[in-house]
Symmetry: C2
DNA sequence: CCGTATCCGAGCCGATACTG
DNA sequence: CAGTATCGGCTCGGATACGG
């Protein structure tokens, strides 16, 4: 039985939705998962793929995702060392749950931006 | 045609996914949308429903959601003033896109927590 | 009841330098 | 190639007080 359509009375501090949202809030995390769904990737490969992420953040987020069981880290003893990150089955299910969100983003970003312009114009008019 | 299952080569800084994720990353925003889907609510009603949010944050996030066209603010001239927040059709579609994520959270939080315990135990063992 | 204004401390995050 | 370590600015966000 799904609870999706029941109206919640409140969101307690420790509820699952809050906890997972905190992780999704980590914007990089989701992007990494979506990328890894395609194929395993190496550290600097991810770094290049995600425009704007710093070495430090990437390292940090990868560690956190591994800790959560959403991806797997595999070090290969070459010289120099190669490290491969791949998504886990659990991570895959999360990525799938994020898909509708990405679709929504692509379809509705324009409308959101338009709403912002309307709002700002309105505020500007009031200020004058 | 849905783009969900195509492998992205990169996530540029301004892509829709990144932009929307930045907003979702605002953890409170999603919770508010999900709450308002049930029924319009007033300021302090929301405040009570979302455990732990400060007055400042609630005010801030509500303004941002209104700006994005995801909810509507309606002030009623009573004494003292009553303000009613309700979700817009656009906001409703976003809330629906978030549903799978909430379902995922409820179903998989346990497994994530278990993975964390395994990871931490492993690290502890190595440190010893 | 519904906010805004101000202060201020914690922690995020980028930059840089260094290691296996 | 794949990270760790350290420093410092800067933003986020809580607490408090006040106004419409």
């Amino acid at each position: 039985m799904k609870a999706s359509h029941l109206k919640p009375d409140a969101y307690a501090a420790g509820c699952p939705t809050r906890q997972i949202l905190d992780r999704i809030g980590d914007k990089w995390a989701v992007l990494i998962l979506l990328l890894l769904r395609g194929e395993p990737m190496r550290f600097n490969q991810l770094r290049r793929a995600i425009e704007g992420i710093s070495q430090k953040m990437l390292s940090q987020v990868l560690k956190s995702l591994e800790r959560d069981g959403l991806l797997r880290r595999r070090a290969i003893a070459t010289v120099p060392v190669t490290v491969e990150y791949s998504i886990t089955p659990l991570g895959l299910t999360l990525a799938e749950a994020v898909d509708p969100l990405r679709d929504w983003a692509e379809q509705n970003l324009k409308e959101v931006l338009a709403a912002q312009r309307r709002y700002d114009a309105q505020r500007k008019a009031l200020a004058a």
